[in-house]
């Protein structure tokens, strides 16, 4: 999967229009990145990449692009 496809999945998860996220956004600035979104993200990475994301590492992520690193992209 390419990064831009991954960001489209994140757009969908967070309820944004397709193409909104570019990776440069700061997660703490996104109101939509809440505890429900975090659980949704863990499910998304489990489903799409068969990767178990440890929540402690997820909390260390600062930028949207860091989430792509966690998904192995």
């Amino acid at each position: 999967m390419q990064r831009n496809e991954f960001y489209l999945l994140l757009d969908d998860l967070l309820g944004f229009d397709p193409g909104t996220l570019t990776g440069k956004e700061v997660l703490s600035d996104l109101e939509e990145w809440d505890s429900l979104a975090i659980v949704g993200f863990i499910a998304l990475v489990d489903e799409e990449f068969s990767i178990a994301v440890p929540p402690t590492r997820l909390r260390e992520c600062q930028m949207v692009s860091d989430l792509g690193d966690l998904a192995g992209l």
Binding site: L36, V39, G40, I42, A43, V53, P55, L58
Partner: protein
């Protein structure tokens, strides 16, 4: 994981009781905002729940469920050899609530009684113990009472817990029957996750004091005290993904069942997102996955028997079904049971009104 095949034991009946008062999540709009409540409800699947008033305990709900079940089964109190109470919200730190219930139910002094402190996995563990007592010859009839009033231990300002839980008590009748089909259990534990679903204070590690009762804003933005339930939803979800698919696989393997052999899968009603995601991961058809979360919330230890009473009682009264029961959560602790059961006595849901007291 611990594997058990149990023979010569059957479930004779299951009943559930909930407080009469129904609370809609809308009541929380002033605290969290209407949009936030709608968003949480959309994800967890909880729309309303039955919440016990402060003077009604899990034991009162279990008592009502047990009275109805014993009456419908025509089980006389003197025919019950053991009473097991599974809960995390007992009447007292001591004595055991099971002892109080033995007396309230009029069961003679010849009855063995004890408590088990487990939550989400508690029903499967309770059935494992109850059927083990019967299989070992120590009891012909066991009354398994499983219930919780978790709303008593949550902060109303913690969005992770305030909108999730319902209160309920259940009774399950377990008895010797040489012709009963085998039951297969798989159980496990990972106490390294203890801190992710915990009431930190009130035990002997950290006794309750004025300061543990003081609520303040925590790191996660929620307001609670150390006397309140804390849940790290992301950690608990990651744990269920790690453990439950393998637990189900092992249980089916032990029973010699294919996924297609399962008529119904009743999972602990953690929340709808978790139930639906696990079902998808395990390729369980949605029609086989039974839910009660919408109208009752997450009822902790009671969620599996409550869901059976709510959704499967008519079918289980008439015929035998192959059920897969899966509990997972606080501890971390987990257990699954593959069981063919039916022709049960399964009374309609018992509603307990707010005036219920131990003197009733």
């Amino acid at each position: 994981m611990s594997h058990t095949q149990m023979s010569g034991v059957r479930i004779a009946g299951i009943s559930s009781a909930v407080p009469q008062t129904v609370h809609s999540l809308d009541e929380y709009a002033p605290v969290f905002g209407a949009d936030e409540v709608a968003k949480i409800s959309d994800s967890t699947g909880v729309v309303r729940r039955h919440i016990a008033p402060d003077h009604v305990c899990a034991s009162d709900l279990c008592f009502a469920a047990a009275q109805r079940l014993m009456s419908d089964l025509m089980w006389t109190p003197d025919s019950i050899d053991a009473l097991v109470f599974v809960s995390q919200t007992p009447d007292y730190r001591l004595p055991p609530t099971s002892c109080v219930l033995q007396s309230r139910l009029g069961i003679p002094q010849t009855c063995a009684a004890f408590d088990i402190n487990l939550g989400c996995s508690g029903y499967v563990y309770g059935l494992w113990v109850a059927s083990g007592l019967v299989a070992a010859g120590g009891a012909k009839r066991v009354l398994l009472l499983v219930g919780d009033t978790i709303n008593r231990v949550v902060s109303g300002e913690d969005r992770a817990t305030a909108l999730l839980f319902g209160d309920a008590g259940t009774a399950t009748a377990v008895e010797r029957n040489v012709d009963a089909p085998s039951m297969w259990f798989v159980l496990g534990t990972d106490g390294s996750g203890a801190g992710n679903l915990i009431i930190p204070a009130g035990g002997f590690r950290k006794p309750a004091t004025e300061s543990t009762a003081a609520r303040s804003q925590c790191e996660d933005g929620n307001v609670r005290s150390d006397n309140d339930l804390f849940m790290d939803g992301a950690e608990v979800f990651a744990f269920t993904l790690r453990v439950v698919p393998g637990l189900v696989r092992e249980t089916l393997q032990l029973a010699g069942w294919a996924l297609d052999d399962v008529d119904y899968c009743v999972m602990h009603q953690a929340n709808r997102f978790i139930i639906d995601y696990l079902a998808k991961r395990m390729k369980l058809p949605s029609a086989k996955v039974v839910r009660s979360i919408e109208g009752f919330g997450n009822t902790s230890s009671a969620s599996i028997p409550l869901t059976i009473t709510h959704s499967l009682a008519p079918e289980l009264r008439q015929s035998d079904k192959r059920l897969l029961l899966v509990g997972f959560g606080v501890g971390y602790s987990w257990g699954a049971l593959a069981i063919q059961c039916g022709h049960l006595v399964a009374p309609p849901m018992v509603l307990v009104n707010g005036s219920a007291t131990p003197d009733d």
